[in-house]
């Protein structure tokens, strides 16, 4: 009889949960067997005097008596239990998403160390300060405007309680279809967006946005005017990044390529190879083209000089901080640890580790075989390249594919750095264009190739039933959707970033004076040396050309 009562109680609970009722029927009708079961369990709960004696084994802490009762007269009901189950799910997902967001925020420290370590000591303070202030610029811009553009129409995430206050997407009708263009709610997190779920998604998406912004500072390091960097970063956080992020993640037109055009499951970018890294990478390319190379980077015949960074230990430690933060980046992008396929977080985390590992192997072995030394800075970039490339496919691929993607990215970053420097004659002190731009785009494409169709995030992706499946597993249309995303990155995002920063160049000037550049930016721009007690060794003649010679 007892078994029957337990089974009936379980079935009743399951029916309520499956119905997905946000407001569960109050069990104030006639007491049922299940209600009696709950009453029985409540009567057997440990008393306050029992708990007062301590619970060293943890056996009596966390029982039925911890479930809130909505009506003390009625006592504990199935409704109370079901509500608590629902809140537990959301609580687990909130906690997971927030903790992962905190990890991603810590990546700013890693970026600061990597970028500053790869720059000369005379620019250390300036480079650190750009990485420091970009956090404030981005956060502020995102709060007042960017978040609304990106997520203002992104309602529907069941993992975070629905996010119903974010339900206003501006749309366009084109080719007989309706396409999302930008969100319209959430500015200043005021009004209806003053909501617990919205706060969680704001924090998580904000730290992603700031990651994209900080990529640009590396490519323009050692000659970017601090004022122009600040204005550029505010505008990127307010407009450029949120716009593409809306199209991919906020219910915009790229995400709708599946439902509107039958292209796979629409543009799929699990954690942001495209949204975060490629947006940062192509913007870095645009800004590096405008700001020009550092004095002394290229000789008259166009050959490049190696300008070594001042602290390889900071670079490598920074890389480990970034790799650690990536465990927030990728697994956190499930936006939960409970429900809707979220248990795949383990797979996502392992994929992330593996791609970073094989990326390091790819770059290190390439440099060792081709150049004769296992170059430290390129090995570091190899680790980051693998991580960048796996960011988009991490939720859709198996571990073997992760290893392959990371390995290819590790080699790709070496080839790309040489191409950018020797063929394009673009000066990128930290390799940001290659690490984040080239490998970010490769990551986007790799979703369309390697996605194995085994993931299942609530049975659909971008509103299209089924799992994301790439070309190698039978769906060529997914690759087309990914390529449309690539086109948007190299066409729209790059073009828009270039035009925006060209305008800033006209009004503000992107570059510091030649005099400041030769002296190092720490004193002229920041008023303080990064390492005041260091004794600077003289630089080679080509790097200390007088300003007059440089501008002649």
């Amino acid at each position: 009889m007892k078994i029957f009562r337990i089974a009936s109680a379980t079935c009743a609970l399951a029916v309520l949960l499956l119905a997905g009722a946000g407001t569960v029927a109050r069990a104030d009708a006639a007491p049922s067997a299940s209600a009696a079961e709950l009453k029985d369990a409540a009567s057997k709960a440990p008393t306050t005097s029992t708990l007062a004696a301590g619970d060293p084994g943890g056996a009596i802490t966390g029982t039925v008596s911890d479930v809130p009762v909505s009506d003390a007269k009625v006592g504990l009901t199935l409704g109370d239990v079901a509500n608590q189950v629902g809140q537990n799910k959301i609580g687990i997902n909130f906690t997971w998403t927030l903790l992962c967001g905190f990890l991603v925020m810590f990546m700013q420290a890693g970026f600061a160390m990597v970028e500053s370590g790869l720059c000369r000591v005379k620019n250390a303070n300036h480079t650190y300060m750009m990485n420091f202030f970009v956090y404030g610029c981005g956060l502020f811009a995102y709060w007042i405007l960017g978040f609304a553009i990106q997520m203002g129409g992104a309602a529907g995430s069941g993992n975070l309680g629905g996010l119903q206050p974010l339900a206003s997407e501006h749309t366009l009708s084109l080719f007989g279809k309706t396409w999302g263009v930008f969100g319209q709610t959430g500015m200043f997190l005021s009004g209806h967006s003053y909501d617990v779920g919205v706060m969680v998604i704001f924090l998580f998406q904000m730290v992603f946005m700031d990651t994209a912004l900080t990529i640009v500072t590396g490519a323009c390091a050692e000659r970017w005017k601090f004022l122009t960097f600040s204005v550029s970063s505010v505008l990127m956080g307010a407009i450029t990044y949120p716009l593409f992020a809306n199209w991919a993640w906020g219910g915009g037109w790229l995400a709708q390529l599946g439902s509107n055009m039958g292209l796979g499951k629409g543009y799929a970018d699990f954690a942001g190879s495209g949204v975060v890294h490629a947006v940062g990478g192509v913007t870095a390319l645009a800004c590096a083209l405008i700001v020009g190379p550092r004095i002394g980077k290229f000789n008259r015949d166009g050959s490049a000089n190696a300008i070594l960074g001042h602290d390889i230990s900071a670079v490598l430690i920074g890389c480990f901080i970034l790799a650690f933060g990536w465990f927030g980046f990728n697994p956190g992008s499930t936006l939960g640890a409970s429900g809707a396929g979220c248990l795949r977080i383990g797979s996502v985390a392992v994929n992330t580790m593996l791609a970073g590992c094989t990326g390091t192997f790819g770059a290190l072995l390439y440099m060792w075989v081709m150049k004769g030394k296992p170059d430290a800075s390129m090995s570091a970039n190899g680790l980051l390249a693998g991580l960048v490339a796996i960011t988009a496919p991490s939720g859709f691929v198996n571990p073997i594919s992760s290893g392959i993607i990371g390995l290819i990215a590790g080699v790709l970053v070496c080839v790309s750095v040489a191409f950018v420097e020797n063929t394009l004659k673009i000066d990128d002190p930290v390799g940001a264009i290659s690490v984040h731009g080239a490998c970010g785009l490769f990551g986007v494409i790799s979703v369309g190739l390697f996605a194995d169709g085994k993931s299942n995030y609530g049975g659909a992706w971008n509103g299209v039933t089924g799992s994301v499946t790439g070309l190698f597993y039978g769906d060529a249309s997914q690759l087309v959707a990914q390529l449309v995303g690539v086109s948007t990155l190299v066409g729209f995002v790059f073009g828009f970033s270039y035009a925006l920063n060209w305008v800033l160049d006209i009004f503000l000037g992107q570059r510091v004076s030649a005099e400041s550049e030769v002296a190092g930016l720490d004193l002229p721009e920041m008023g303080q040396l990064g390492y005041p007690e260091f004794v600077f060794t003289p630089e080679p003649a080509f790097m200390t050309a007088t300003p007059q010679a440089a501008v002649a």
């Binding site: 204005v231 505010v234 060529a476 066409g491 510091v512 300003p547």
Partner: protein, 129 residues
């Protein structure tokens, strides 16, 4: 010349202006919202005026400028490739057809980003001086 008080003042005005403009957009339906938007846009314009005014204080930069025509051509090519992709999706309903138009569009964008604009940047670079 590097960082100055004038730069700090103009950046502060820019931040106040963009904040006021955002407040205006967020509460556009109210009278105060419209006022905030207008005030914000005026402050933004003023901040850009200040930026332009203090720009010469920076001193001579080690960059001789890039030919504007090539730069415009590069940006337009980048955008054109993207437009080709968007329209190409409607020219064909087959996956292979859409794949071809998308790759053509990407190639056009890359010509702008990796050929025309670097060529503009390397027309009069500091290292050739």
């Amino acid at each position: 010349m590097a960082a100055t008080k004038s730069q700090g003042r103009s950046f502060s005005l820019f931040i106040v202006g963009i904040t006021a403009a955002a407040i205006g957009v967020a509460s556009f339906s109210s009278g105060i919202g419209k006022l905030a938007l207008i005030g914000g846009l005026v402050m933004l314009a003023a901040s850009f005026g200040l930026f332009l005014k203090i720009k010469p204080e920076e001193g001579e930069v080690a960059d001789k400028g890039q030919p504007a025509v090539m730069r415009v051509a590069g940006v337009l090519a980048a955008f054109l490739g993207w437009v080709i992709v968007l329209f190409g999706l409607n020219l064909s309903t087959t996956v292979s057809g859409r794949m071809v138009t998308t790759i053509i569009g990407i190639a056009v964008s890359l010509v702008g980003a990796l050929a025309l604009l670097p060529a503009a940047a390397n027309k009069n670079p500091i290292w050739k001086a």
